[in-house]
């Protein structure tokens, strides 16, 4: 330990001397600019020294040098919004799943595609082979000024535009030339542009991803700590050829491998905790004994939504439709200014610092998809189910956000439905607040039959909790789980000391002990009564 400290001090000294020298070099040199990490200054590229009227124009310029980038993107979930799970055979991805937030991107592409890394995804006829429609800037913008407003099918707006038309609201145009000249590596903010705002707003969907991670402190996330480790998303989601590893459609629930090291070929998911920390990260041996059954996240993420931003815990669509005195959709906010009821959406429950639920999870996720039979008597219907159990040898105990919903379904065809929500047309629910029309339009968009009847069914979705890793001092203490009624009280199939042992042994043991104690006390009492002196 002492030796390590000496080495660190020595290294720090050398590093400081090194930076002093390089500063001197720079002063001596012609340039006073900070040393660029990149070998290319994009502002010096003549391809980018021109005004751009649209996103695809920028992409074409990018592709003149980065010739393979678009074809790499074409292979990703980010582009395809489609993922075939090799384990279950289910076709998933945003284009196919139905969730219990806004339920489906189908028929709502103009709005939802603002989070697609492409331009012009507005219906199922989108050309997924198009190279120029790949959006480079949404991930590589270093200015923070790039925006893809809702309603434009993923296109940025370059000239001030009234939107919705006739509303008097102006969407400001952005300067794509300035943005294109400043591109760089992805940052927390660029990934967060979409991933922090899933479900229609900041912090809504995941619970462990929200804009508080733009510049988190150490207490919020020990790795992303802006003043400390300052990890970007890609530090863990280590990406090659634009293929970002780590997916909630097929997560790595158990990683039995060691830490990845340089020079050693390792094809396993680099985004797991074990990929850096290995299997025995604790100095206290007994803690390492937990790593075979308990996911790191279970102890090291004591709560989610810890960044002063509440996450949505439930959404009841069945109460939507109320209007205020002026005939506008009724909006109710809580004391913190967060909307808890919206006439076009229904009731929300928002929570901060949420204690996760815990369950066995082997990485396999089964979805309830369009057309799967919905039996209302068995509600809540699982939007998705984390599979696994104590005895399959592949499962770990994971923290999970359970998101509860009550959403429309077709009681005649017994299926979940696609609801046409966003749009300027008469059938969009957010415009006309008419379920029958909205669902008819939604189902027509995916070519599925709709009976015309609408009912509501309770649903529940599972979200793995894996971000917002707390510093070790804030990790769960033993008695959070090693206790009756503790956090893992409902997790079956595992013996947890302190949670309760064999009932029969306990009962007999305490009865026998009490009987012996009573026996000796009676014996002693008789002796006392019969004493001679």
């Amino acid at each position: 330990m002492q030796a390590l400290k000496h080495i660190l001090v020595a290294l720090a000294t050398v590093a400081m001397m090194g930076s002093a020298f390089s500063a001197a070099d720079q002063k001596a040199g012609a340039s006073d600019a900070a040393l660029l990490r990149s070998t290319a200054d994009h502002s010096k590229f003549k391809e980018l020294q021109r005004p751009f009227q649209s996103g695809p124009e920028v992409t074409k310029a990018c592709l003149t040098c980065h010739t393979e980038a678009a074809r790499q993107i074409h292979q990703t979930q980010h582009w395809k919004w489609e993922y075939v799970n090799p384990g279950t055979g289910q076709t998933l991805g945003k284009r196919h799943v139905i969730n219990n937030f806004c339920t489906s991107v189908s028929s709502n592409y103009k709005a939802c595609a603002s989070c697609h890394i492409g331009y012009g995804l507005d219906d199922k006829n989108f050309d997924f082979a198009s190279q120029e429609n790949v959006d480079c800037l949404v991930c590589h913008d270093a200015t923070g000024k790039y925006k893809k407003p809702s309603g434009f099918s993923g296109h940025p707006v370059t000239k001030d535009t009234e939107f919705p038309p006739g509303s008097g609201k102006i969407v400001r145009g952005i300067d794509l030339q300035a943005i294109a000249q400043k591109v760089g590596k992805t940052r927390r903010e660029t990934c967060g542009t979409c991933h922090f705002y899933g479900g229609g707003g900041d912090a809504v969907k995941h619970g462990d991803l929200d804009s508080s991670l733009d510049r988190p402190d150490k207490a919020l996330d020990v790795h992303m700590d802006a003043e400390g480790n300052n990890f970007t998303c890609a530090t863990c989601h280590k990406t090659e050829g634009h293929q970002v590893p780590g997916s909630r459609y097929a997560p790595t629930a158990m990683d039995k491998g060691g830490a990845h090291i340089r020079g050693k070929a390792d094809s396993t998911n680099p985004a797991t905790c074990q990929a850096c920390h290995g299997q025995a990260p604790h100095s206290m041996a007994k803690l390492n004994d937990h790593t075979d059954k308990v996911a790191c996240q279970t102890c090291h993420i004591p709560a989610f939504a810890r960044g002063d931003m509440p996450t949505k815990m439930s959404w009841d669509w069945s109460t939507a439709g109320k209007r205020d005195a002026k005939g506008k959709p009724l909006v109710v906010t809580n004391d913190d200014g967060h909307v808890t009821y919206n006439g076009i959406k229904g009731d929300f429950v928002l929570e901060e610092n949420v204690r996760p639920e815990y369950m066995w999870f082997n990485g396999s996720v089964k979805y309830t998809l369009m057309g799967d039979d919905i039996d209302k008597s068995r509600q809540p219907i699982a939007i998705n189910t984390f599979e696994g159990g104590p005895d399959d040898g592949k499962s770990m105990i994971w923290p999970v956000k359970l998101f509860r919903g009550k959403q429309p379904f077709d009681p005649v065809h017994r299926t979940l439905v696609v609801t046409h929500l966003a749009g300027e047309d008469d059938t969009a629910y957010w415009k006309n607040m008419d379920w029958e029309k909205a669902i008819a339009a939604g189902m027509a968009a995916v070519g599925k039959p709709f009976s015309g009847k609408v009912d509501f069914v309770e649903t529940v979705a599972m979200w793995p909790i894996t971000h917002m890793v707390a510093p070790k001092e804030k990790a769960l203490a033993c008695n959070e789980c090693h206790a009756r009624g503790g956090r893992l009280d409902k997790v079956e199939g595992i013996y947890i000391p302190g949670r309760g042992g064999n009932r029969l042994v306990d009962t007999l043991g305490w009865l026998a002990s009490a009987a012996i104690l009573a026996g000796v006390l009676v014996h002693g009492l008789i002796r006392f009564v019969n004493r001679k002196h």
């Binding site: 007994k286 390492n288 004994d289 075979d292 203490a477 033993c478 008695n479 090693h482 206790a483 009756r484 595992i494 013996y495 000391p497 302190g498 949670r499 309760g500 042992g501 064999n502 042994v505 306990d506 007999l508 043991g509 305490w510 026998a512 002990s513 012996i516 104690l517 000796v520 014996h523 002693g524 008789i526 002796r527 019969n530 004493r531 001679k532």
Partner: protein
Amino acid sequence: MGRVYIFTRFERLWHWIQAVLIIGMLLTGFEIHGSYHLLGFEQAHRVHTMTVWAFIGLWVFAMFWHLTTGEWRQYIPTMKNIDKIVRFYAVGIFKGEPHPFKPTRERKHNPMQAQTYLGVTVVVTPLLWLSGLAYLFYNELTAAGYRIDLGTIATVHTVGAFLMLAFLIGHIYLGTTGHTPLAHFRAMFTGWDDDH
């Protein structure tokens, strides 16, 4: 009137350290088991684990002592006169009859006592030790291919703990049955038995 030096200094030291360790392990053990809250799970676990290593260390010394001094013979079981001992505790003690057994340097324990101590040593302690070590090194055992259910290990350990608790209650009570209630305790501190 006799005054017999029964317990040597090592034996007394061994006894009382063992007493503290066993009571400590019972207290922390049942807390780890979830029977009550005293120190908190983490602290209870830490104390329990440290105590067990102290206990194992002490046990090594005690075994060495018993083997080299030949004192292990004290625990050779016998049924001779055991009926008299049982009758004394069931009947005689209430009538003020004298204890039928007179401890000597050669035979410190009455037959019932010796058999109980032997039972604690060859049944209860190994039960606790084996299950306890399996509990502590559960992951290493699993890694080595011994697939034993942790719940089973814990149950065996709990059974051992209840047996030890039962012994402790009886042992402490019987300690009060000397010619005065504190006579046996005094002997255990001083080494001298001044029965009669």
